[in-house]
């Protein structure tokens, strides 16, 4: 599942590398962000498989910075149900520390859980939830 937030930030959520939710700001450069996020999925997989052997305190859901590019930073997060969250932010935005990113992912995860617990949502479908959209929008506004 893939999630993608851009603004110079983008958020994407994936399940089994199939996108569940994509959102980016500004919208005109969407393809570039898609490309970046899909590229990062390999890094996510790599990190997960390496983590299986790691110590308990290192088995966190938040994966940290996946890789930096010239203009953007890509962060990853994987839930226990193997849903991948990927976030792309502008690297010129220095206000975003690791901790802020982590708490953003937590918020995202909380909202995703609410979506999952909605009986009218079929797991694996694209997420079309107003509450979820609202949360992402507020997060992006804060970021941009």
């Amino acid at each position: 599942m893939e999630w993608f937030l851009v603004t110079s930030a983008a958020v994407i959520l994936f399940l089994q590398n199939y996108p569940l939710y994509i959102r980016s700001v500004p919208t005109e450069n969407e393809l570039k962000f898609h490309y970046m996020v899909h590229t990062s999925l390999d890094v996510v997989d790599e990190k997960i498989s390496a983590m299986g052997k790691a110590l308990v305190d290192q088995r966190e859901l938040y994966l940290g910075l996946l890789y930096p590019t010239e203009d953007y930073k890509v962060y990853g997060y994987v839930t226990n149900s193997k849903v991948k969250f990927v976030m792309v932010v502008d690297s010129s935005n220095t206000a975003l520390r690791d901790n802020e990113i982590r708490s953003m992912f937590r918020k995202l995860h909380n909202s995703y859980t609410d979506v999952m617990c909605n009986p009218f949502y079929n797991p694996g479908d694209r997420i079309q939830s107003r509450a979820f959209d609202g949360m992402v929008t507020s997060m992006m506004i804060q970021v941009c």
Binding site: G52, V56, E60, L61, M116
Partner: protein, 201 residues
């Protein structure tokens, strides 16, 4: 109690009033729809009558139980599917703040401890595995069965109460990336065993 006059069965008198009506209509039903039985009974010697009517009731019973069985099976499947979806949602919530699972056994332990405690307010009493993808979860006092009389009397009804829980386990595991088949087994009432067969890809 005096039986009410014919043709008037106010609802309040139902207990006294309906019984004769039912008996009457059943008699009418028989003579109307199965003349063969009636004529056999009347026309031939002693045992032919009772035997054929026995055959018929046997057939009817067989038919109704078969119908009931398919109906029952459908209900159980439905309950299981409902449990599956609920399990998916619950596990998403419960694993939100836990560390990533190390392996399959780690996940089963989570189901037995945290998941079971949250849902049934107690842990699984015994978890066994053959290390080849089969896990047996034993609960000696399963919550949904404690309200029923202990012993073997209502054993046949237990499946209805276990279907949802089987789905719950299956849904939870599937959301954590493990495909499985879950079956339940009761030998004496409040205790029950869930067998989880992991489907290897």
């Amino acid at each position: 109690m005096k039986s009410p006059p014919d043709g008037r069965f106010p609802p309040r008198l139902a207990a006294g009033g309906w019984a004769p009506l039912l008996a009457q209509s059943r008699g009418g039903f028989e003579s109307l729809w199965v003349p063969g039985v009636v004529s056999l009974r009347a026309g031939s010697s002693g045992h032919a009558g009772p035997e054929s009517s026995y055959d018929r009731s046997d057939y009817v019973q067989g038919f109704t139980t078969r119908k009931k069985a398919t109906e029952n099976g459908r209900c159980i499947t439905k309950l299981e599917n409902m449990g599956f979806r609920v399990g998916q949602g619950l596990i998403e919530r419960f694993t939100k703040d836990t560390a990533r699972f190390k392996d399959e056994l780690d996940i089963m332990k989570f189901i037995c401890k945290d998941f079971w405690t949250t849902v049934f307010k107690k842990q699984i009493d015994n978890l066994r595995t053959n290390h080849q993808g089969i896990y047996v979860l034993q609960d000696n006092k399963f919550r949904l069965l404690t309200q029923m009389s202990a012993g073997k009397q209502y054993l046949e009804h237990a499946s209805k109460y276990l279907a949802f829980t089987c789905g719950l386990i299956r849904g939870g595991l599937s959301n954590l990336g493990i495909k499985s088949i879950v079956t339940a087994e009761v030998s004496s009432m409040p205790a029950c065993k869930f067998q989880v067969m992991i489907q290897k890809l």
